[in-house]
Amino acid sequence: MATLYIDNKPYEVKAGKNLLETCLGLGLDLPYFCWHPSLGSVGACRQCAIKVFKDETDTRGRIVMACMEPVADKQRISIAHPDAVEFRANVIESLMTNHPHDCAVCDEGGSCHLQDMTVMSGHNYRRFRYNKRTFQNQDLGPFINHEMNRCITCYRCVRFYRDYAGGRDLNAFASRSNVYFGREEDGPLESEFSGNLAEICPTGVFTDKTLKEHYTRKWDLTMAPSVCQHCSLGCNTIAGERYGELRMIANRYNGEVNGYFLCDRGRFGYEFTNSDLRIRQPFISKFPVTKQQVLAEVATDIKKGKVIGIGSPRASLQSNFALKQLVGADRFFHGVSDNDHNIADLIVKILKEGPIRVASMHDVQQADAVLILGEDLTNTAPMLALAVRQAVKQQPMKKLAKANIPAWHDAAAKELLQDEKGPLFIASINTTKLDDVATATYHAAPDDIARFGFAIASCLDRSVPSVSNLPGELQSLAQRIADALSNAERPVIISGASSQTQSVIRAAANVAWALHKKNKNTGLAYTLAECNSMGLALMGGHRLNSAFDAVMNGHADTVIVMENDLYRHGKAADVDAFLNKAKKVIVFDHIVHRTVEKAHVVLPAGAFSESDGIVVNNEGRAQRYFQVYECHEPIQESWRWIVDISKFENNVGMGWEHFEGLTRTIAEAEPLLRDINRVSPPASYRIAGQKIPREPHRYSGRTAMLANINVSEPKPPVDPDSPLSYTMEGYKGLPPSSAIPFFWTPGWNSVQSVNKYQEEIGGSLKGGDPGIRLIEPNLKSTLSYFTELPEPFVPMKDHLWTVPLFHIFGSEELSVLGDAVAKRAPQHYIMINALDAAEQKLSENQELAFDVEGQLYRLPVKISTTLPKGLAGLPYGLPGLPNVELPAWLIYKK
């Protein structure tokens, strides 16, 4: 600790940080542009100038940039000194000389860091009377809008895009007042993290193009804390609504999970909630009916029929549990393929019974050696790939301490480290986008990846069964990896469900456990398929094929499918037979898909933005998403439909009415979920007797927005499920960390106001990061190593071992239904190795007919030199591409 005198007032602060983050952390206002807590300091914009004094007697002091100056004990600085104030006013005036002052038509207006800083620095009269420089803008694809004239050249965009996220196609061109940030030519930004430019850019150069489609100022949005639904990582988001439709997803800081960023699938995937495919009313035999009619129908079906329920990995714990309770635990089935089911169970077992604490994304970022087994993270869990990209900087950063350079001093650190990379090893099926920062890569069939993992584990601990007949160079690579992991302070092993192969997951556990014997700081992380795969696995339920059997054998005749397209989880022929055999198929969902089309009864469920629910991420962290806006009648959460049905049926109900009662019931009934009560504050929670407003206090149009329907203002809806109100009235201070609907503090209208919500800059939110971890390791674990070593993969004549290939844009069911993400999704294809292509005399894009597990395909060929010989890659989950359980053998059809 150090004592710092700011304007003659003493503060106890942490030593080692820079003065800017220290001042901001103390809640003081100091303007800045080029600095960002994730990017460090470069001292380029000169906006955070302050005065530093030698001692008490020094009255003149000297001007320094706060972001470039470390805290020193007994240091005396001044933010308010007239010289510093004048300096900052001059800097902002010169930065603004070319700015077009087009706030009124700028998407950033009202949540603009440049506006805030200009006001804070006191620049309010323009003296520059010459022409401003003007630029031509570029079309940067469906996600990001480009308006270069607004640029103040802080360089944050390229520092994020290139240095932080590893993008290559956004650059700074030209010099002086002509600096231009853009691509070499028009075209979509290639990085999967381009959406963050909208938040990183302090002005309106890069803005959210999907928001532009239905633009609303930040102050006019109704917002609520939400959780991303598009992969298993559970990034925290803010979802904003106006006029009954979801209009924007922004980052919601969580120090343990997503930090300051989101991937483009998470940010732009929300458009599906406004899609034409939304189910907006109940249907019986494809005819629209009223709520009463459908309730009567379903209640009768349930009374008469032998009912089973099929849950979903993309539905909340609440909805899944409500269904389980309705049909009975022994009649509740997980709506995932048996392979997915087994993999999820295996992962839960490893994490619960093993000795290793699951690594959060923050832990992965801090890791100084990483091994990835079988995952293409950029496409299956994109934000984890971004975390790995930061991890490779950790080992070289150790040099900084020796050179007496603080870690936040980005300019000096870059100079010293010269792009040096720490150990990252990737064993994957095909090339991944992280290969450019990897120390070594190995591309092989899933079983070979598993064998390789076993070999690494065996190098670490001789009691792990060794792998015989591994090629010499692989054996030495395994040894090299084992050495690098052993030498690390905080190694992390990452694997997951996407290779669809249990042996890969076991191999990763073996490596982590062997390493853990030497180093207790070892981390282990698995990715799963969907946003609540982990929650579903923790809840318990039967396998999907047993549900199929139950109906085929006549043990059941009425099926309730909840928020699940079975065609994504089972083979088309099986699902067809199952749905045809069932006497009654009742589906709850918010979006039309093939299962909905086969249903007799359809009930409109709320999408995540219209629902309250808890989902559990890959780390075992239970997180709540709040309803952003009242659903349009008769849409409601699946769990609310279920309570309505039960009330209709017997007038007793389920024993609970609202979110809280339901959550309490789950906590009591499900031993692995008993802590979910603590995820969010109760509905009765009040601060100073007030609710937490979903709307900023500047919200406008409440009286006018519905005047075309009724001139008298409707009574605002009441939320029985949370301490959040649907209006702008309520407590204006900081809400509890798990219930932050938007970031705003006086003078800080942009997302940069998050600084004021944190314990310390870049640390956890005040009151702790949101979410409750449900899985804690068994430190006394006596679990022994897995010994099931798979056989080496041997290519088969006229066959190809087909594995799923994932795409960030396209493989996820919901996001691809939005326009922007759909534009980035690939066409259907089948990828094969160049040698196999030559053998079969196939050329690029030539159509190949083949059969996988009885499913026929006819797809254009994509030839790869990196996919191992004997393998074929089938894109996973693309719309219109029939699902089949992989990996499996493909047979050529003539």
Binding site: D169, N171, F173, A174, S175, Y180, R183, E184
Partner: protein, 170 residues
């Protein structure tokens, strides 16, 4: 090309991108005094880097011309000392005389006018650079003479366009 290879060899393995600046000078001299997108793409292919990495560097420095230039490139300094000694008038005079704005080339393809920052000859301000030569202590009165002389000496394109890496045309 052997010159290019020699330049690349100066830098350690894996750091060959550092050779970009000198190679761009060579390329500019070789390909008519300016860097077309094709030329820059070619340089990128030599260094095995992305074209965009060449564009960002080439567009930063005023020494690289991204538009075709005339036979004689006038680079008039406009930084403080030269400006105090009347560089504005010199630029204005050339502009009027040749009918071109800074950055443009005269219709006869003879002169290109550029305004540049300090060329480290403040003692003899105002001044300009033409190819590898400084023309110092300029004044509006002298300009007619200077231009006339340049028209004679630079009637053939200068073989190196001011490149610090002279190219010997056989």
């Amino acid at each position: 090309m052997s010159l290019v290879q020699k330049i690349i060899k100066r830098y350690p393995e894996g750091r060959h991108k550092s050779a970009l600046l000198p190679i761009l000078h060579v390329a500019q001299a070789e390909f008519g005094g300016w860097l077309s997108p094709e030329t820059m793409d070619y340089v990128a292919s030599i260094l095995n880097i992305k074209p965009i990495e060449v564009y960002e560097v080439a567009s930063f420095y005023s020494m690289y011309n991204l538009q075709p230039v005339g036979k004689c490139v006038l680079e008039v300094c406009q930084t403080g000392p030269c400006w105090l000694r009347g560089s504005d008038d010199i630029i204005q005079y050339i502009s009027n005389k040749l009918g071109i704005q800074p950055g443009e080339t005269s219709a006869d393809g003879m002169f290109t006018l550029k305004v540049v920052e300090c060329l480290a000859s403040c003692g003899s301000a105002p001044m300009m650079q033409v190819g590898n030569n400084f023309i110092e202590n300029l004044s509006v009165e002298k300009m007619d003479d200077v231009l006339k002389k340049l028209r004679e000496t630079h009637n053939v394109p200068s073989p190196d366009y001011g490149s610090p890496y002279p190219v010997n045309k056989a």
